[in-house]
Amino acid sequence: MANKPRVKLPKSAKAGEIVQIKTLASHDMETGNRKDKKGNKIPRLILNKFSCSFKGEELFGATMHPSVSANPYIAFSITAKESGTYDFTWTDDNGEVTKVSQDMSVS
């Protein structure tokens, strides 16, 4: 991805607290249905998978299709349990993975 995705995760939370997480990736989400000026089909290239995981375990994920808007925005929530690093990954049709990791301390 040309531009780094944005992830909004609080730096700290109380145990048991519901934490809102927002993510914003930067991607054209080319549907494969469009044609260029010469009339040739522009091949599909989208981010097809999003995942938020903690210590290797997926807490939340999404499978995306071409009907997701350009620059995919996904917001969800988790329950704060443990301090540590939360990993966010986006995978495109070529298998290229973009990863952003952020720490949250839980008290």
Binding site: E58, L59, T63, S67, P72, F76, T91
Partner: protein, 156 residues
Amino acid sequence: MSNTNSQLVRMDRRTALKAAGAGFVALGFASTAHASPEAAAEALAKLSGGAAAATSDKITISLPEIAENGATVPVGITVDSPMTAASYVKQIHVFAEGNPSPETITFNLTPTGTADVNTRIRLSKTQNVLVAAVMNDGSVLTNKKEVKVTIGGCGG
């Protein structure tokens, strides 16, 4: 799209399906699905094993009545459900019945947080957005909302 790519995509779908549990594997999001209310309804029916899924007001869909531009339509979905290991929402499927292909996005949830998600989708024309929530016991709830997509004089 190369073969590798399409395989990758199918793999993802399959993985997602497996995660949804037995019976659900038959879902078959055919990549050749035609855009129509029927195709979307069919996909929905398959989620609940052929039975008509119950329309439920436990699913709240927040969508603009009139989208300013179909390229980016914010959608919020809340399912009124506990999110505990014993009872939780496992998947939330979003279908756009008038798009070239009805599948839009599927959220995979675990017993954490609340069943409240937000994203932005493309809608090719005025149509119904269908949402199906698959619970951990395999039951399926659905709801839908119509969105009018306007063509502007100069924003179009």
